[in-house]
C-alpha cells in the first residue's frame, strides 16, 4: 500500500470511513433543499431572466444598444468574454494538470471546479455569439460548403482559431467531467429510494457497475484525457490572447500575451473557485473534505500566477518605453495617466498588490481573508481585460477619431445576467450532482485520511 509522510497534513479530516464519504456527499442530494439554497437560486434566477431579457432586446434591436462606437468597437462584450473564459481555466487545470502531477488535494475540488469551468465557458460563448449581431447566421464561422462563390472562412485568423479552441475546450471539458461523474451517479442511483429519482440517476449513470475491467479503462481514459487536456488549457487562452496580439494596435501587439493571459486566466479561475467553494463547503457541510489546507494550496497557486501577472504588467510597461516606438509608449502612458487611469490603478491594486498578502501564512490560511481577496481578484481581473481592450483602442493614430466608451444599461444588464445564469447553473449542480469526486476521494482515504494517518503514526 502507498504510504504518505506523517507530517503531511491530512486531506480528509475526522474519523471517516468509505460509507461516511458516500453519506456526506449523497445525503444532501437525498434530503430536502435547504432554505438558503432556495433563496439563492430564486435571486440568481431572477437575475438570469433579466439577463436573458437584455440579450433578447439586444438581438431584436441591434448592437447599437451597446455603448460601442466607431472608435471603441470592442468593450464590455469582449471583456466579459475573456473574463469568463479565464475563469473557465481553473477547472481543467485542477483536474488535468494536477492529475498529471498526482496532487491528491485536487480530488476534493476538481468536480465543482470543472462544473464551474463548463458553466463559465458557456457564459463566455454567449458574448462573441451575440456580438455578431445576427446570431442566426453564426454558423457562418464554420467551414461549410456554400453558394457565396465558395467563400471559405479564414484559417489564418485568430478569431477563427478561437472558434475551434473554445468549442474544443468546452466539449472536451464536458466529456472529461462526465466520464468522472458516471461512477458517482451510479453510487447515487444505488442509494436512491424514490423510483423516479432512481430512474433518472440510472439513466445518468449509463448502467455503470464498477467492474475491474471498467475501472482499468476508466483510469486510462482519465489519464489520457488529462494528458491531452493539459496542452489544451494552455492553448485556449494563448489563442484568446492572439485575438489581440496578432493585431497592429499599440497595447495589444505584444509577444508576451500568450503566457501572460494563461497565467491571468489561472489566477482568476482559482479566485472564482475559492469564492464558490468557500460558500459551498459551509452550505453543504463539507468542511472535512475542503478545509484550510486545500484553501492554502489554492492560495499558493494564486500567489504564483498573480506574481507572473504582475511581472507581465511591468514587462509590458518597460518594453513600451525600451522599444522606442512612440505609439507604443503613448499607449501605456495613456493607460496609467489618461481618462481610464482609474481602471488601470484598480487593476494594479487588485491583481498585483492584493495577492501578495498571501505570503503571510495567517492570511493564506484565513477563510474570511481568502474569500474577500478572491472577490478582489475577480474584480481586478475583469478590469485587466477592460484596460487592455478599451484603453488600447480608444485613442488610435488619428486624434480626430479619439473617443470614449460609456456602457449602457444593456451592457450592464447582459453582464449581470450572465452572472445570474452562471450561479443558477452552479446552484443546480450543487443540489443534484455529486459535488465531490466520490470514487477518487475514496482512493486517498487510506493514505490521506486523518484517522488512517494517526493509526500509521502509532505503529
Amino acid at each position: 500500500m502507498q504510504k504518505e509522510a506523517a507530517i503531511r497534513e491530512p486531506l480528509i479530516l475526522g474519523e471517516k470511513s468509505y460509507k461516511d464519504i458516500t453519506d456526506d456527499v449523497v445525503g444532501p442530494i437525498q434530503g430536502a433543499a435547504p432554505i438558503g439554497w432556495k433563496i439563492m437560486i430564486t435571486i440568481s434566477t431572477i437575475i438570469a431572466i433579466y439577463g436573458v431579457g437584455s440579450i433578447l432586446y439586444l438581438l431584436g434591436t441591434g448592437i447599437g444598444v451597446w455603448g460601442l462606437n466607431k472608435t471603441v468597437g470592442w468593450a464590455w462584450d469582449i471583456t466579459n468574454f475573456v473574463w469568463w473564459v479565464g475563469i473557465g481555466h481553473a477547472g481543467t487545470l485542477i483536474s488535468a494538470v494536477l492529475l498529471l502531477f498526482r496532487q491528491k488535494w485536487r480530488m476534493a475540488i476538481n468536480r465543482s471546479a470543472e462544473a464551474m469551468t463548463i458553466f463559465a465557458v458557456i457564459m463566455a460563448a454567449i458574448f462573441p455569439g451575440i456580438h455578431m449581431g445576427r446570431i442566426w447566421v453564426s454558423y457562418w464561422v464554420l467551414p461549410l460548403p456554400n453558394q457565396f462563390g465558395s467563400l471559405w472562412v479564414n484559417f489564418n485568423s485568430p478569431l477563427l482559431w478561437d472558434v475551434f479552441a473554445i468549442s474544443t475546450y468546452f466539449s472536451v471539458s464536458l466529456v472529461f467531467w462526465y466520464i468522472g461523474l458516471i461512477p458517482d451517479f451510479a453510487t447515487i442511483r444505488d442509494r436512491m429510494t424514490k423510483p423516479l429519482a432512481k430512474k433518472i440517476y440510472g439513466v445518468l449513470s449509463f448502467g455503470w457497475s464498477g467492474r475491474a475491467k471498467h475501472w482499468n479503462r476508466f483510469e486510462e481514459v482519465s489519464l489520457v484525457l488529462a494528458g491531452i487536456a493539459t496542452p489544451l488549457v494552455f492553448s485556449v487562452h494563448s489563442i484568446v490572447s492572439m485575438d489581440f496580439a496578432t493585431s497592429v494596435v499599440p497595447g495589444w501587439h505584444t509577444t508576451i500575451f500568450p503566457p501572460y493571459f494563461v497565467s491571468g486566466a489561472v489566477f482568476s479561475g482559482f479566485a472564482m473557485v475559492q469564492t464558490l467553494l468557500l460558500i459551498m463547503r459551509k452550505g453543504m457541510k463539507l468542511e472535512n473534505y475542503i478545509h484550510v489546507k486545500h484553501v492554502e494550496y489554492m492560495n499558493i497557486v494564486i500567489i504564483v500566477t498573480g506574481s507572473i501577472v504582475g511581472v507581465a504588467y511591468l514587462t509590458e510597461l518597460f518594453i513600451s518605453w525600451y522599444s522606442g516606438v512612440e505609439y507604443e509608449s503613448y499607449a501605456f502612458i495613456n493607460r496609467f495617466s489618461g481618462p481610464y487611469s482609474w481602471s488601470y490603478w484598480i487593476m494594479m491594486t487588485c491583481n498585483v498588490i492584493s495577492p501578495q498578502l498571501f505570503w503571510f501564512k495567517k492570511i493564506r490560511r484565513s477563510l474570511i481573508a481568502t474569500f474577500i481577496l478572491s472577490i478582489v481578484v475577480n474584480i481586478g481581473m475583469w478590469f485587466e481585460r477592460y484596460v487592455i481592450i478599451v484603453t488600447s483602442i480608444h485613442r488610435d493614430y488619428d486624434p480626430s477619431s479619439w473617443g470614449e466608451f460609456h456602457p449602457t444599461s444593456v451592457d450592464v444588464g447582459i453582464f449581470i445576467g450572465t452572472l445570474g445564469i452562471f450561479f443558477t447553473l452552479f446552484l443546480a449542480f450543487a443540489r443534484f450532482f455529486p459535488v465531490l469526486a466520490l470514487n477518487e476521494l475514496k482512493t486517498i482515504l487510506k493514505t490521506s485520511g486523518e484517522n488512517y494517518k494517526k493509526q500509521q503514526a502509532n505503529h
Binding site: 460509507k19 467551414p143 472536451v172 482499468n216 481514459v221 491531452i228 487536456a229 466520490l438 482512493t443
Partner: protein, 176 residues
C-alpha cells in the same frame, strides 16, 4: 447447474489479499465490483491493460490529418485568397498559421474518439441497466464474482476455500 459466488468484503485490501489466496489455490476470479479502482487487483485476477490509449492516439492522428487536409483544400487549393499580404501559395508556407486549428482538431478527435470507444467497449450507455450484484458495491463494499463454469473445482471445494478468506457476506446463486 452452474453456481455463481458473490463474495463481499468490507475493505479493498482484504479483497485483494483474498483474491491472491484464491488464485494461488487455482480458483479463477471472474470479476470484481468495487466503488473505486482497486490498485493492483488487475494482475491478480488477470485483467490486461486496456489498449484505449492506442485508440486515442489513432483518433488524434486522424484529426491531425483531417484538419490539414481540410485547410489545404479550403485555403490553398479551392479558393486561395491574399489576406493581409499573406498569400496562400502552399501548405508548407502557410503551416504556422494552421498549427492552432490542427492542434485543436487533433485534441477534439482524440478526446471524443477515445470517450466514445470507452463507453461502447464498457457497454455503459444512457439507459443501460446496472449489473452490479449488490447496490452496496458502489458505496463501501467490494464484491468478487466467481463461477463454477470457469473453474474445474467442485462447488463445495470452492465454497470451503472462499469461506477461509475474511469475507463479509457470501451469496451463492444457481444459473443455467
Amino acid at each position: 447447474m452452474n453456481k455463481v459466488f458473490h463474495v463481499m468484503y468490507d475493505d479493498d485490501d482484504t479483497l485483494k489479499d483474498a483474491a491472491s489466496a484464491l488464485v494461488a489455490k487455482g480458483i479463477r476470479v471472474k470479476d470484481v465490483f468495487s466503488p473505486f479502482p482497486i490498485h493492483g487487483i488487475d494482475p491478480i485476477i488477470g485483467v490486461k491493460r486496456t489498449r484505449l490509449g492506442i485508440a486515442a492516439f489513432m483518433f488524434a492522428t486522424t484529426g491531425t490529418t483531417l484538419a490539414l487536409l481540410g485547410m489545404w483544400y479550403f485555403m490553398i487549393s479551392d479558393w486561395p485568397m491574399n489576406i493581409g499580404g499573406k498569400p496562400s501559395f502552399s501548405l508548407i508556407e502557410n503551416l504556422p498559421a494552421f498549427i492552432p486549428v490542427t492542434f485543436e482538431f487533433s485534441v477534439l478527435c482524440g478526446a471524443h474518439g477515445m470517450a466514445i470507444t470507452y463507453l461502447l467497449r464498457n457497454g455503459t450507455l444512457p439507459g443501460m441497466p446496472a449489473s452490479n450484484p449488490d447496490p452496496r458495491s458502489t458505496d463501501d463494499k467490494f464484491i468478487m464474482e466467481i463461477t463454477t463454469e470457469q473453474n474445474a473445482m467442485s462447488a463445495d471445494e470452492m465454497e470451503a476455500a472462499i469461506k477461509e478468506t475474511p469475507l463479509f457476506e457470501l451469496s451463492i446463486k444457481d444459473y443455467k
